[in-house]
């Protein structure tokens, strides 16, 4: 076998260790905060949440689709690296699988706690309705989870088996289908004009690619496996995805605004000028697209700027998904509904409750801990070899 990538041990000296320590502290603190959120979730139930009947999905669903998208993107990156046998990036690809698993676990925890009956989750698998995209997705999650676990186990000693290299394209296509289906889950809802578009699944694919690469960049930075060449490669690909995302957003918003169909214009205007306009302009566009683009453009493959840009992209994925989920739901479907009957959950305004924030922070902590612990369990720092070459 041939050693294909620079061992992490050598790079660790180059990496500022405090970044890794900071990641540990942050993950443990987040998990601790989340434990209290979890306590509230099970004591108060859904009565402690601010989502309800008119805005039935909130922070947890936005976080879930952001994390699942990032997971699919990170995994697709790894699959491409193995399929194309880009030996130089094998370490990064292994880390990408672990990051994908961490994001997947965090995302699934969000959606599980969002269920009205979390203990009935098994019905999704054993009593699936295949007329529902969500029914299909539940099976996709099982298969995807298995692919991730198998991928982590078979590469745990640092040797990438031949079949992993040769058949990763199957996993890649699965990741594409998986991320696209996530978008279709929204795209098929005819009642919500903002969602119901052929562009929605495509947008989800682009965002999955972008958020996944962002996750890999910040993960590579934290674990010290980002070097000049991989940073440059990631920068270029992220810039392409950022451009695509801007193009699709522009196309979606401008055509809708020009057509002036109220059902679609109203949620878009809520995004652009509503009470949470700053989520779009400041977090999504500013910190999630423009600042990372500038860092990537002028950083020229600098490890710090690539890592920070990736971190911003990954973090601001939530802003993008919040702007997909909430404005579509925060519209009166029938005039007069907002004041027809009052009660908890019968409002079209939404801001997450303390319980929702705490649980969300906790799920991120959980994902972070999985990655930090998994890094050691799966020997990600070990030298990586290709199983199809002789030493």
């Amino acid at each position: 076998m041939t050693t294909l990538t620079t061992p992490f041990a050598e790079q660790e000296s180059r990496q500022t260790k405090w970044v890794l320590w900071f990641a540990w502290v942050l993950a443990i603190a987040s998990a601790g905060i989340g434990a209290y959120g979890l306590f509230l979730r099970f004591v108060l139930g859904h009565a402690g949440a601010n989502y309800g009947s008119y805005v039935p999905w909130g922070l947890w669903i936005a976080a879930y689709i952001a994390l699942i998208g990032a997971s699919a993107g990170a995994f697709a990156f790894a699959a491409v690296i193995f399929t194309l046998r880009k030996l130089r990036y094998y370490s990064l690809a292994r880390l990408a699988i672990l990051l994908a698993f961490g994001a997947f676990a965090a995302g699934m925890t969000n959606v599980w706690l969002d269920l009205g009956h979390p203990l009935r989750f098994w019905k999704l698998m054993l009593q699936t309705s295949f007329t529902s995209i969500m029914g299909w997705m539940s099976w996709f999650y099982v298969i995807y989870g298995l692919i991730l676990v198998v991928g982590l186990f078979i590469t745990r000693n640092g040797v990438i088996p031949k079949f992993m290299e040769r058949y990763s394209w199957i996993s890649f296509f699965f990741a594409i289908v998986f991320a696209g289906a996530e978008g279709a889950l929204f795209g098929v809802v005819g009642a919500r004009a903002l969602w119901e578009s052929g562009l929605t699944p495509i947008l989800f694919l682009v965002e999955a690619g972008l958020f996944g690469l962002g996750l890999v960049a910040i993960g590579g930075f934290i674990f010290g496996c980002l070097e000049k060449q991989s940073a440059r490669m990631l920068s270029v690909v992220m810039l392409i995805f950022l451009g695509l995302l801007l193009l699709f957003k522009w196309a979606e918003y401008t055509t809708a605004l020009y057509a002036s169909v109220p059902a679609k214009v109203e949620p878009i205007m809520t995004i652009l000028t509503g009470p949470f306009w700053w989520v779009f302009w400041f977090f999504h566009l500013g910190l999630g697209i423009l600042l990372p683009a500038l860092l990537l453009l002028f950083g020229r493959g600098n490890i710090w700027s690539t890592g920070i840009a990736g971190g911003l992209i990954a973090a601001m994925s939530l802003a993008s998904k919040l702007n997909l989920v909430l404005p579509a739901l925060a519209q009166e479907e029938l005039k007069g509904l907002a004041h027809a009957f009052t009660g908890p959950g019968l409002v079209f305004a939404y801001f997450p409750s303390l319980m929702e924030w705490l649980v969300w922070i906790g799920t991120l902590g959980l994902g972070g801990l999985i990655v930090l612990i998994g890094f050691h369990i799966f020997n990600i720092s070990a030298p990586t070899y290709s199983g199809s070459s002789n030493r």
């Binding site: 859904h46 309800g52 009947s53 009956h117 999704l124 309705s129 809802v189 919500r192 009166e332 027809a340």
Partner: protein, 242 residues
Amino acid sequence: MSDTIVPKENLLLRMQEDIRRALEKPEGERRWGMVIDTRKCVGCHACTISCVAENKLPPGVVYRPVLDQEIGTYPNVTRRFMPRPCMQCEKPPCVPVCPVNATYIRPDGIVAIDYEQCIGCRYCITACPYSARTFDLGHTYTEGTPEQEVYELLPNYEYGVEHPRKPGSEESPIGNARKCHFCLHRLEQGQLPMCVTTCIGIANYFGDLNDRESLVAEMAAQPNAIVLKEELGTKPKVFYLI
């Protein structure tokens, strides 16, 4: 004007007779429907309140709100009241999206929810273009007061099944999507839905749309009968006379 359409008779008795006739038919041959005369509705909300009482609805769950709509610009303004039950669509968008078959169309056309099957994902709520589904968050009216009132624990009998309420738990119907079911438990006993019975202006007509002799079929065929959001192709079985 309506006097020329509806003979002066006790409309409630006629509708009850229509129901009895429908119940004699096999379930699959019935097609329950409702017509709401917005010209007769005065916005008293009696239907909303009676529905809450009949189905023991907790805070935040409503099956039949009455929408208060102002139309036009002063001085040419109109005020219209529009009760909004579940439309019991023939092509309900809420049914195919359910990932566990918890919501389904009964042979008599009523869109039902199996409370024990529902996982509370709320995908159906997002899919309904009429916001006719609400989520039971588990609230109680006496929340934050020193004592839990006994009436809050009384069971409801939706879908003919006893559902005791256990605040603080996530036992159904808490954690479920919930909606109007035309008071199915009353219907099967030959009684009209509560909202129809309690309407002070008899602005609701209910019965079997497949029965040409029924009052509801007669009213649904009026030229001024419309359905909401017809363009979506959901084919509601609730009509409005405007």
